[in-house]
């Protein structure tokens, strides 16, 4: 397809692609861009986008945004000097090499990694499949400063590495990209914090690739707190090695439309993934999480526990899928999706799926959607709690099962604070 017959909706992306300098990666990026153009935006007929329409995103004309220094309001408190700050996909700040608590963690840009002689094929991949393949390709084509984080073999840094992905500017689009590689036997914690304000519409198309080496343990704490006019599409593609453990704690709290595809491939015997999530679709927010685990080897284990709360005109979608492939005997896959509707206009669609091609496995899944228990609500009120206090207590209790597992205190506290603040606002106006 040439530029002359390009659909109007894709023109801004073509313009952004043509104005960027790609250097050594031009070929890979060019192919990725053509892949995006051929695919275009998904239509509602596309099963993976059944409940999430991108019409509004498609109609906007976003432009590639330069780095603008973020205001302190959107710069969340995190240990200065021990964090990576990425604004509109460009690296603004990185920790110095001498941080004792981050010992064993190496942070480079894609350009530095290429200069160090690493092959492009390992650094700038486009995943295949899934509803967000086209956007992952777009990311590969347009990402400005991909960040490569390596945890050295057997390294056990005592502190968590904070990566702030900030969006700023008017009608801006950005394509933040991270590659995280946990070396054999390492153990590390990573906080990924998406943030932005409500001042303008923006499009953030983010891609995160994780490679967990044998016997490694990686805990990822993801907080999505974009402004309520931001469109976010994020793909997280993780490959978990032999006896390695990947844990993701996900708090989806922001955005206008936010779509997350979280894929974990349990690629070698004994690999395990625990994926915990909480989403809060309040206001007019639309949140869509597609979580997929592939069991590709024997003795692999997965636990997916996502809890959703929707209020006002909020809408949430959860699609969980576990695939136990042929030969992945003695594997365990558990999936839980629990959902709470706080007000009558809210909606949650949940679809847990299991596909099993091995005969000696333990699998379970369950999904529920309901409202606060009127008997519990009355009980609390009869003890003197006012209605909003009682509803807030019961909603926090609902989220507690997932929140209590978020074992990084600073992260858990931040999520609690946002949740409390939002619940207070939701419950101010009784249903």
């Amino acid at each position: 397809m040439n530029a002359a017959v390009l659909p109007a909706a894709l023109a801004p992306y073509r313009a952004a692609f043509e104005s960027a300098r790609h250097g050594d990666t031009a070929t890979v990026r060019g192919a990725a861009f053509e892949h995006f153009v051929e695919s275009g935006f998904p239509s509602p007929r596309d099963e993976a986008w059944k409940y999430t329409s991108l019409r509004r995103l498609e109609s906007r004309r976003f432009t590639d945004a330069p780095v603008t220094a973020p205001g302190t309001a959107v710069l969340p408190s995190s240990p200065a000097g021990a964090r990576v700050v990425v604004v509109n996909g460009r690296l603004l700040e990185a920790p110095g090499p001498d941080r004792a608590e981050l010992h064993g963690i190496r942070i480079r840009t894609l350009a530095q990694a290429l200069a160090d002689g690493e092959p492009q094929s390992a650094l700038l991949r486009v995943p295949t499949g899934g509803g967000t393949e086209r956007f992952a390709a777009l990311n590969a084509a347009l990402c400005a400063d991909p960040i490569v984080v390596d945890v050295a073999e057997d390294a056990r840094p005592t502190g968590a590495l904070h990566i702030l992905l900030l969006a700023s500017g008017d009608s801006s689009m950005s394509h933040p990209r991270l590659l995280v590689r946990a070396g054999r036997g390492s153990s590390a914690q990573l906080v990924i914090h998406h943030s932005g304000d409500d001042a303008a519409e923006r499009f953030v198309n983010s891609y995160l690739e994780i490679e967990s080496g044998p016997d490694s343990s990686l805990r990822v704490y993801r907080q999505q707190a974009h402004g309520s006019r931001t469109f976010l599409i994020e793909r997280i593609e993780a490959t978990v090695g032999q006896r390695a453990q990947l844990t993701v704690h996900d708090a989806e709290l922001g955005g206008s439309i936010s779509r997350l595809d979280l894929h974990a491939r349990l690629a070698a015997p004994g690999a395990a993934a625990e994926l915990n999530g909480l989403f809060l679709a309040d206001g007019a927010r639309h949140l869509d999480a597609h979580v997929r685990v592939d069991h590709l080897a024997p003795g692999t284990r997965s636990l997916v526990d996502y809890r959703g709360v929707a209020a006002s005109r909020g809408r949430a979608v959860f699609n969980g899928k576990a695939v136990v492939h042929e030969g992945a005997q003695k594997s365990q896959a558990r999936q839980v999706s629990r959902n709470l509707l706080l007000t009558p206009g809210a909606e949650i669609d949940t679809k847990p799926e299991l596909e099993i091609y091995a005969d000696d496995v333990q699998c379970s899944h369950g999904a529920t959607t309901g409202q606060l228990d009127p008997a519990a609500l009355f009980y609390l009120r009869s003890r003197g709690l006012d209605e909003s206090e009682a509803r807030s207590a019961l909603t926090r209790a609902f989220a507690a099962a997932v929140l209590s597992r978020m074992d990084l205190p600073a992260f858990a506290e931040a999520v609690h604070a946002i949740l409390d603040d939002r619940l207070a606002r939701i419950l101010e106006t009784p249903a």
């Binding site: 228990d373 009127p374 008997a375 519990a376 009355f378 009980y379 609390l380 009120r381 009869s382 003890r383 003197g384 709690l385 006012d386 209605e387 206090e389 009682a390 207590a393 019961l394 926090r396 209790a397 609902f398 507690a400 099962a401």
Partner: protein, 251 residues
């Protein structure tokens, strides 16, 4: 303290209370007895303000106020307490949180300062000892995994902490073994005071061996058919309820 006049209430299409009159003064302990389906629990629900029961006629006056116009939490703050027949389990909401939030809501209403964590713990420890409850209960979810007896003790603990003016006990004796009944009864007896009224709703007279009422009422068909002193309860125990109904029918 409590004046109920000609109270009619229904659940769905079913008329449950059909003209109930009751007056309870400060310092008094009343027992309301009656067969299953007579409207005992519905009466307790109406007084506590539970949704789903519709009052179609009559008035309920509490300390000079229109009780039926008050939200459940406002009733609690004004000193009305219902010990539930079936206390609900609320995993994830901590017992201590509920006790403290409830107590401070009541204290604000009374114009008293809220208790800080230290004073609250000191107060709660005393009351828990009284109810023979282990402190570990504080950090568990409200009634979560409690046995029947533990739930009832927890209700009386809440009552002891909130110090209501009007305590309603809905079938508090049901499901209790004799030891638990003694603990619960001594908790309730410890709350008897000239400023406080207690109304017990019960199916059996057994509870009245432990908590002696000043007045006993027979509730049947949604109305109080007969009132008397303690001896009425003993008579009901021996003769059942039919004779009261026959008497009322003849009158």
């Amino acid at each position: 303290m409590l004046k109920i006049r000609d109270l009619h209430a229904r659940i769905g299409d079913r008329e449950i209370l059909t003209g109930l009159d009751l007056e309870v003064g400060a310092g008094e302990v009343h027992a309301i007895m009656g067969p299953n389906g007579s409207g005992k629990s519905t009466l307790a629900s109406v007084l506590a303000g539970r949704d789903g029961v519709e009052v179609t006629r009559g008035t309920v006056e509490y300390l000079g106020r229109d009780l039926l116009a008050m939200e459940p939490e406002d009733r609690a703050r004004a000193g009305v307490f219902l010990a539930f027949q079936y206390p609900v389990e609320i995993p994830g909401v901590n017992n201590a949180y509920l006790l403290k939030a409830g107590l401070n809501a009541v204290r604000r209403q009374r114009g008293e300062a809220e208790l800080d964590a230290f004073d609250f713990l000191a107060l709660i420890r005393d009351k828990m000892k009284l109810m023979q409850m282990d402190e570990s209960f504080l950090n568990r979810g409200v009634n979560e995994g409690f046995s029947g007896g533990e739930k009832k003790r927890n209700e009386i603990l809440q009552m002891a902490v909130l110090e209501p003016k009007l305590a309603l006990l809905d079938e508090t004796d049901s499901g209790l073994d004799i030891d638990a009944l003694r603990v619960v009864a001594s908790g309730v007896n410890g709350m008897r005071s000239p400023e406080r009224a207690i109304v017990m709703v019960t199916h059996y007279q057994r509870l009245l061996d432990y908590i002696e009422p000043d007045v006993v009422h027979v509730l049947s068909g949604g109305r109080i058919l007969k009132s008397g002193d303690r001896t009425l309860a003993l008579e009901l125990e021996q003769r059942g309820y039919d004779w009261v109904r026959a008497e009322a029918g003849a009158a």
